[in-house]
């Protein structure tokens, strides 16, 4: 639907909510990038800035929810408009959670700066972070262009993140067994990896919302999942599965 509403104010309301969502997406994207950079370069000032800026993300989330509630109450949107409002609300929630994860990574960065460094973990985390940031960019592109194909492709990509997380999980586990003095650092790195893995899940949810927005149906087939760490047991022979 590209044609305008008879009521121009309705168009402005919908555009405004989506513009705020894009502004919020920009802040979350920046938080994700800077949290990664702060971790990699031990930049505590940058980590601190990420923690402080989360408030702005939360405020935008709240403002989007208020806008959407007003549109629902005053315009009673139908069809594509209804799906737009529902999708904007849902994506805002996903973005807000991603912002929280970035903030959590930044908090752990401050602790890690004083801990024993862990060999090999940093490049693996960097790869994972780059993959989720790319996923986020593509998911938001799919939203602005209403592109079903990109959304489906992003949704399928979550499996790669899960697999990266599995690998990192195994290597951190090994590391902790071999060098008990690194357990504190490894635990923090593991939570950071889990945060990134969870961001991947939220971005997948954004992609699914775009699929619903464009097609009117939520994807119902089980998407490929790769996070198998819930089943892992380091004591069992063969380690994690």
């Amino acid at each position: 639907m590209t044609t305008k509403h008879i009521s121009g104010a309705f168009d402005r309301d919908l555009e405004h909510a989506q513009a705020i969502l894009m502004k919020m997406a920009g802040l979350v994207d920046e938080a994700m990038l800077r949290a990664a950079e702060a971790l990699e370069t031990n930049n505590l000032e940058m980590a601190d800035a990420v923690r402080r800026n989360d408030k702005a993300i939360d405020e935008l989330d709240e403002s989007i929810k208020i806008d959407c509630a007003r549109i629902l109450a005053t315009r009673s949107p139908n069809a594509g408009d209804l799906r737009t409002v529902l999708t904007v609300m849902s994506i805002a929630t996903n973005l807000e959670r991603c912002g929280d994860y970035a903030k959590n990574i930044a908090k752990r960065t401050s602790v890690l700066a004083h801990a024993h460094p862990v060999k090999d973990a940093s490049p693996a985390l960097r790869r994972m972070q780059k993959a989720v940031v790319d996923m986020m960019t593509d998911a938001l592109n799919a939203f602005t262009r209403r592109d079903l194909e990109i959304a489906q492709e992003v949704r399928a990509r979550d499996r790669e993140i899960d697999e990266m997380y599995n690998t990192l999980f195994r290597s951190l586990l090994t590391h902790m067994m071999e060098e008990p003095h690194s357990i504190t650092a490894c635990m923090h790195l593991h939570f950071i990896a889990k945060n990134i893995e969870r961001m991947g899940d939220h971005i997948t949810s954004i992609a699914e919302q775009v699929i619903y927005l464009v097609s009117g149906d939520l994807p119902d087939d089980d998407r490929p999942k790769g996070d198998l760490t819930s089943f892992s047991n380091p004591d069992a022979s063969g380690g994690t599965a």
Partner: protein
Amino acid sequence: MDDLEAINRDVDTNASKISARHVQVHYGDTHAIKDVDVDIMERSVTAFIGPSGCGKSTFLRCINRMNDTIDICRVEGDICIDGEDIYDRNIDPVQLRARVGMVFQKPNPFPKSIYDNVAYGPKIHGLARSRADMDEIVERSLRRGAIWDEVKDRLHEPGTGLSGGQQQRLCIARAVATDPEVLLMDEPCSALDPIATAQIEELIDTLREKYTVVIVTHSMQQAARVSQKTAFFHLGSLVEYGDTDEIFTNPKDSRTESYISGRIG
């Protein structure tokens, strides 16, 4: 328990009550309805929506042959109720209208008492054998119209003395007094305030337990609230017909989407 009832009622709606095929209506030179095919389900509420002049009221009026009263109007095609062609030569339109009741936009009670308003139909169709019989029909109809409690102590006061919303419920009671199978409603709430509208909508929801209801409405939200099926008319054609939930969240035709989202009118 309510949920279970709702499920049961939805299952009931698999049987077609009214079936229209290739219906064409002309007013003089104007082609008002163009080749409409539709199956209206029994014991359900079907909403007709569409911009002014799209033919939804015209089509509604075909279902009880109200268009017969207009000289220049010509109806072609088949409309069957329970498989019986209502335009058949052997069908008496007056009898038909006892089976297919109608409620109009503006409440139009007769300038008679509340009791006589309701008793009028049963009287002319000879449905009551005694005074007690008639009392019972009047009470049952007023109860179905969800207005009994408000008028039971003043049945012999004029119907025109009631409020707008009460008058409309009286008209619904009058329409159900002849025990029709189908109830046609042409914008029954457009002259009412929001409270009276909510009362009529609640009433429509209970009416579908017994009747097949077809409602023409300009309020999209009303169609979405009260109906199980929705038909969208545009320029005399039936553009889309389907489950109300589907029509309002994910319509198939771009004209339906444009209309229900306020882009064409």
